[in-house]
Symmetry: C2
Subunit: 268 residues, 2 copies
Amino acid sequence: MTVWCNGNFVDTLTLDPAERGLMLGDGIFETIAVRNGKPIWLQQHLSRMEEAARAIGLPLQDAEIRKGIAAVLSKSNHISEVLRVTLTRGPTGRGLALNGDKPTLIAALNPFDRATLSQSVQLITASISRHAASPASRFKTLSYIDAVLAAREVADRADDALMLNEHGRVACSTVANIFLLKEQSLITPSSGEAILPGITRAKLNGGARELGLELQLRPVEYEELHAAEAVFLTTSLRLATPVSSIDGKSSGTRDISFINAFFERNLT
Amino acid sequence: MTVWCNGNFVDTLTLDPAERGLMLGDGIFETIAVRNGKPIWLQQHLSRMEEAARAIGLPLQDAEIRKGIAAVLSKSNHISEVLRVTLTRGPTGRGLALNGDKPTLIAALNPFDRATLSQSVQLITASISRHAASPASRFKTLSYIDAVLAAREVADRADDALMLNEHGRVACSTVANIFLLKEQSLITPSSGEAILPGITRAKLNGGARELGLELQLRPVEYEELHAAEAVFLTTSLRLATPVSSIDGKSSGTRDISFINAFFERNLT
């Protein structure tokens, strides 16, 4: 692992004991695929991070973020890697509403073995749901414990957890957006459905017409998953991954390799 | 500040870059009042921490926790202090569901100036709500960003934010439980209402009969706040604090000093 923190390469993180990223999950992050030393969809990730920073009142750090990313990428020596950028409010005194003046910025580069990606995933619905009125469900914040616990709840029986929203409708998995294919329709839960607005999701939404698909951004009922010709997950690292079963019931088996072919044509 | 981490007194925290407390808000904490070197309601805090650890699948660390607390308390030199105990899942590889085998345990002791406590607080309702299906609302986890953002939302206009739950009913403030007094009734939202089960709340609930009050643990409608003779908040550090107004409307002014007198009689 190559790690850069606030201007320096480091082996361990040295943090103020009042660091709010640790004490209160008060920060945001991005996870970015890197191939042959090049970050994929970097501008989109930085834009989303900037939007999240603005929403939660973190000072914008675009130049510093780019500096940290360039630093760790200069040490890139694998074909496939994962870059994580973490920005916190840094240390403050006691008081939830306080502003820090020393944000903590971390860029970390790790090898990512694409060969270990599973060909398809089994999902089980978690009892823990997502809620549109919770910023933690809409932004990629450090307050990730609900997704952690949803993943742990199903870990013995499935590859990932399906998370529903407060209305019992489909939201996403713990780490991925979810899509359905049915005839010429490409269906994915709309932004008010307590989903994280994924970069890979946005890329596919933008390509639907090119793929001859009619995009439907709308609330998605659970039962629709079982009626779809294919269900798949999207993430920056794994692109599209077919879902083979949901709650023990086999999913539609329509081939989605054309979706991944689309992504591979559009990595810049 | 006196800080102890995993067996040693430290000035700064030295953490593995994969530390899940920082990266995923994957941990829990307790905030404990300390008077003249003695932690108040310690056993209750440790029991709640143990329950949270079990619920989120963290290894129990009771002996280590007691060791860390004893270490920082040995340096106590103020009349009034605040002790925070933080336990995380520590570092792991990639994968939300992974178990760590090196939990991070931090005990930190800070002065707490009781003289600065406000006599009463003004509340404004936050747009961010709490949700019973979210473990982050029921356990004192490091994933605290929803409360942070609720506090920030009202910080220019109020002392704290009132948080409602997914049904629009009263839950708590960002850092405190909430109670209503009406005639001989002591009313507080029940445990299914997306509240944190506060130690001070439990202490008062247990003392209701001694105080000649009829305890009502039940869903509480927002409108009831304005009809109450008194509304007050409870926390381990501040005990009971009267609420003087909610959303700009003055609250009932019944004296609650008998509640704090009860707490002061029952600090052990």
